[in-house]
């Protein structure tokens, strides 16, 4: 459990942001991860009441407030109508309904957990985050390591016709996946993103580019390229050799599903 000397809720995001820039401060936006880890900090700034939790279509984008719960995302008619059922697939293994009622979209993304199937899926969907005071940044760029003390207010997913697939391997249904891969194909692009390697979600850029250059390329070559360019390691859930062995299987199945 996260322990702190002081807990505050601020009137607005500007104040939260100025507090968050100081040392030894933790934002919370749902607080579920904070219950898992035994940590201590000086100040906790609870930003949840300041975050929009709406899900709506705006122009050619789906706009999700950072405060929306994973359960809301799972049950949203707007998401279903937008042909983004893959988001439901990306969260349904996470704990139970009660937990998904507490976990927020913003909190999930800010955690940058490598095991998050939602993050991997959103990268594959070429989503962007909107950071308070900064504006729109691609999720892929956000995950590279910057923007550490910034606050996510929105997530934007471009709406377009596409095929997608999420393949995962896990020891138990509600356990974190030990490897997963999301593949999204639209008229022009194919994006392959792998998570639980166990590092953060990573785009198989060479394989994805290869497809763009040669749309008729056999799936096997894409698999071989992606396997070569991504790093796979060991952790409590699986060894590197297993991840390397199973990644091609998952990717092959995902590619088949998106028609490659």
């Amino acid at each position: 459990m996260l322990r702190c000397e002081e807990y505050v809720r601020t009137e607005d995001l500007d104040t939260a942001l100025s507090l968050g820039r100081a040392a030894d401060v933790q934002y919370i936006a749902g607080g579920t991860l904070s219950r898992l880890y035994d940590r201590q900090c000086r100040l906790v700034v609870d930003i949840l009441p300041l975050l929009d939790d709406g899900i709506k279509k705006t122009g050619d984008e789906l706009v999700l407030g950072a405060g929306c719960s994973l359960r809301a995302l799972e049950c949203s008619a707007v998401i279903t109508q937008s042909d983004l059922g893959i988001l439901r697939e990306a969260v349904r293994h996470l704990g139970g309904v009660a937990l998904r009622n507490m976990i927020t979209l913003g909190g999930t993304i800010a955690s940058r957990l490598g095991s998050s199937e939602l993050i991997t899926t959103l990268v594959a969907l070429q989503a962007s985050v909107v950071l308070h005071g900064i504006g729109k940044v691609s999720l892929d760029e956000y995950l590279q390591g910057g923007f550490l003390n910034e606050i996510i207010t929105e997530l934007r997913i471009p709406l377009r016709s596409r095929h997608y697939s999420l393949e995962s391997m896990r020891n138990g249904f509600t356990d974190m996946s030990l490897l997963h891969v999301a593949v999204v194909r639209d008229a022009a692009d194919l994006l392959i993103v792998a998570g639980s390697r166990p590092g953060r979600a990573a785009v198989a850029r060479r394989a994805s580019r290869l497809y763009k250059e040669q749309p008729e390329i056999p799936g096997k070559e894409l698999v071989a390229t992606a396997l070569q360019e991504l790093f796979f390691g060991s952790d409590l859930r699986a060894d590197a050799w297993y991840r390397k062995k199973v990644f091609p299987v998952l990717l092959e199945r995902a590619l088949k599903e998106v028609g490659v």
Binding site: M169, N171, G172, F173, L178, L236, K245, V246, V249
Partner: protein, 767 residues
């Protein structure tokens, strides 16, 4: 009332969140107790300085090894005298696992207590730890011989790191019979430790009563043994300690070890204040106990006619840093496991439990049965595979049946069993004929069936002693007093049903006083699958005696012939006359007032001389993804003989829960340490137990036998229901892949590794 699904008497209150549990009942102004754990897996404390912690405002006391008696005890809350190796004190000077309690702080708040922990200075001399049970034998001893005590020779050899040992022999020499056998196998099976992962972590509080007695509320499995251990470990008389068990939020054997009650008692003794100790989930993993990890070698022979000719079991278990329950686990590994099959011509059991510097092992549902039966059933699977026999038929032909004797079974003979019917019915329900052994579903998937059979005991034969008291109150209601401990299973409800059946009274008219050393008669507690069978027998006997007394008193009071009297549904009927029946409440009131001031009360003991085995046959239908190693359980069938089923609904959830718990052990649960001895799987995030989403559709059926020694023919069922899934899954894996997997858990990684190795060796999948 017997064979009815009476609702659990406290189920609704629990579901509504009523204050029933230890933490709900703790005094709000109680001191908060926190524990400082060792940062080394094996070390001697050279200096411990609590002065800075004590100087912190709000800190009331700090205890270390210097504040507690140095007499070795065991925290195993079982029989008295306890057979476990006595090797520890409340707080140790030599710590033998990472996180072992070094000091205890009691403070006015949790925050202060935690801050105080950080102010305690400890200097250690660090020793080389040993985490491997095989390497530990004969290497640096964890204990001096003088630090260890046993009530009888349980095989303890501390100088060799042996906690306990057990050896049994029957019939011819094993190797001679194996040489003569048509087929034989010699296999080693390994099983990992398992965490109990109960909902409610370990917790207790202690407060002084007006006479200075220590009143302990504890989430425990035995109030009387807890009382004894607190008294022994602190050097005070048991009558100065009262232990009460409120509702327990799960235990599974984990709370059959008295880790924390002596600590809160010591704090209250020192401060005169109430104090509460609630373990965190991490402490529950790191400080308490696990199932014994094991390595079990089974040699088994098969005659040309298909009869099992020889069984030799060599069981090695990791007891970790302390000796609680290791001897008992070996005993159950032998006596509650091997008699599942008819006595072979050669039979032997060798068991050793070993000290290492890991979290202590202890009691866990099954108690040696799961480890040995996984290995034993694996040998049967492999024998059948090698000899091209159907393993279900091999079991059908070799399993023990009612009326047969066995040298290792309690009482020497099996008096009740429907095991053969269980196997036959299970084959039907799983679709054995259609699915055996395996078939390919698609390019990547093979579907297969597997099964296993299991037994256990009902209480500890020759050892368990309990009592039940039942009183007729002035208003015609009855009060049942029992010292047993319902751990959330519904055992209290079952005891009420038994009383209700004998007395022909509605359960609502029977009050229940349970689990309180001051108010209830002696009961050994809830372990060894015993409350229904052992305490249930005492309750039935006490109620029967009360029934007789009621009729005798009615005869005297109302001048009726006692031989004509019957007690029927709350009325005393005189079958010899036309007179109106007398309501029981009238007799009770008459007795208590003008009739002579008598309150009828009966105490009946029960000596558990035998431990009749319940049986389970478990069948699994599963699919294996041969490219990822992932196992997908499609269906599980559990057939159960627990004698008469007193409460079908409660019995069914025991079966479902036990099977689910074993599926977690079989497929993914694992207790993992790093190289320094730190437990890595120390949260529900890193130690995953199965959820309902992991459990396949499950069919449960009971085929009742009638156990002549049981209450209304009942036997136990709490532990036996754990045993079958791991072995059944392994058998199905063997059918699907042709590979005998030697160790649990069957993670996708392990299964795929086996398939990869098969391919590398030029082998092929069977279908």
């Amino acid at each position: 009332m017997i064979s009815r699904s009476h609702a659990k008497i406290d189920g609704r209150s629990a579901a509504m969140g009523k204050p029933l549990y230890v933490e709900d009942l703790a005094p709000k102004d109680a001191l908060v107790v926190k524990i400082l754990g060792s940062v080394h897996p094996f070390a001697r404390i050279e200096r411990i300085d609590s002065s800075k912690a004590l100087a912190l405002e709000g800190v009331v006391c700090v205890l270390t090894y210097e504040d507690v008696p140095r007499v070795p005890v065991t925290f195993a809350a079982e029989a008295a005298p306890e057979g476990s190796t006595h090797d520890r004190t409340v707080l140790e000077r030599i710590v033998r696992y990472m996180g072992e309690p070094v000091a205890v702080v009691a403070a006015e708040s949790e925050k202060i207590a935690l801050e105080a922990l950080s102010l305690i200075e400890v200097e250690y001399t660090v020793f080389e730890p040993n985490f491997n049970m095989e390497e530990s034998i004969g290497s640096t001893a964890l204990y001096e011989s003088s630090e260890v005590f046993t009530h009888f020779d349980n095989g303890s050899r501390p100088e060799k790191n042996i906690i306990a040992a057990k050896h049994e022999r029957h019939g011819q020499e094993v190797h001679e019979v194996l040489n003569e056998s048509e087929y034989s196998v010699d296999l080693i099976s390994s099983t990992q430790a398992q965490a109990h992962a109960m909902s409610e972590t370990h917790r207790c509080f202690c407060s002084p009563d007006p006479r200075g007695k220590l009143v302990i509320y504890s989430s425990c499995q035995s109030v009387f043994n807890t009382q004894r251990i607190v008294a022994e470990s602190l050097g005070i008389p048991p009558y100065k300690v009262r232990v009460i068990k409120p509702k327990v939020g799960g235990a599974f054997g984990g709370k059959n070890t008295t880790f924390f009650e002596p600590i809160v008692a010591a704090v209250t003794l020192k401060t005169g204040r109430a104090c509460t100790l609630i373990t965190t989930r991490k402490e529950c993993f790191t400080i308490t106990n696990t199932r014994h990890a094991s390595k079990v070698r089974v040699q088994m022979g098969l005659d040309a006619e298909g009869s099992i000719s020889a069984i030799a079991v060599d069981m090695l278990i990791n007891g970790g840093a302390h000796g609680e329950h290791s001897f008992d686990v070996l005993c159950v590994g032998c006596n509650n496991s091997l008699p599942i099959y008819r006595t072979p011509r050669a039979l032997s059991f060798d068991g050793r439990a070993v000290y290492t510097n890991t979290v202590p092992a202890g009691a866990f549902r099954g108690f040696g049965g799961p480890q040995v039966q996984f290995a034993l059933e694996g040998a049967v699977s492999r024998l059948a595979w090698d000899s091209k026999r159907d393993p279900s038929l091999l079991r059908l032909e070799n399993c023990i049946t009612a009326g047969e004797s066995h040298p290792f079974v309690s009482g020497g003979v099996v008096k009740s069993s429907t095991l053969r019917q269980l196997i036959e019915r299970g084959r039907e329900l799983i679709g054995w004929e259609e699915n055996y052994p395996a078939r390919r579903v698609d390019e990547d998937t093979i579907r297969a069936v597997g099964m296993s059979i299991a037994m256990h005991g009902s209480g500890i034969g020759g050892l368990d002693r309990v009592n039940a008291t039942v009183s007729l109150n002035y208003d015609g209601s009855v009060t049942l007093f029992v010292g047993s401990c319902d751990l959330g299973t519904g055992a209290d409800t079952v005891l009420l049903q038994i009383a209700s059946q004998v007395l022909e009274l509605d359960t609502e008219a029977i009050n229940l006083v349970v689990s309180d050393t001051e108010l209830t008669p002696y009961d050994k507690g809830a372990y060894a699958s015993s409350t229904t069978y052992v305490t249930g027998n005492a309750v039935a006997a006490a109620c029967q005696k009360l029934r007789t007394k009621i009729l005798d008193q009615a005869s005297v009071l109302y001048s009726l012939k006692s031989e004509n009297l019957e007690l029927v549904e709350g009325f005393i009927k005189d079958t010899g006359s036309e007179t109106e029946s007398i309501p029981l409440h009238r007799l009770a009131t008459d007795l208590a007032s003008h009739g002579g001031g008598t309150q009828l009360s009966v105490t009946s003991p029960y000596r558990c001389d035998v431990s009749p085995p319940p049986y389970v046959a478990g069948f699994v239908l599963l699919e294996v993804d041969t490219r990822t190693g992932k196992i997908d359980l499609k269906k599980y069938v559990a057939l159960v003989d627990c004698g008469t089923v007193i409460n079908p609904a409660l019995a069914r959830i025991q079966v479902e829960g036990g099977c689910a718990q074993c599926m977690g052990w079989a497929l993914h649960e694992d207790v993992i340490y790093d190289a320094k001895g730190n437990l890595k799987s120390d949260s529900m995030f890193t130690y995953r137990i199965p959820t309902s989403m992991d459990i396949p559709p499950m069919e449960v059926e009971f085929i009742e036998s009638y156990e002549p020694t049981g209450p209304f023919g009942a036997k136990s069922m709490g532990e036996v229901v754990f045993h079958t899934p791991a072995a059944a899954i392994r058998e199905a894996l063997l059918h699907a892949t042709g590979i005998f997997y030697p160790s649990l858990p069957f993670t996708p990684m392990k299964v795929l590794k086996g398939i990869e190795e098969l391919h590398e060796e030029g082998g092929r999948l069977p279908c």
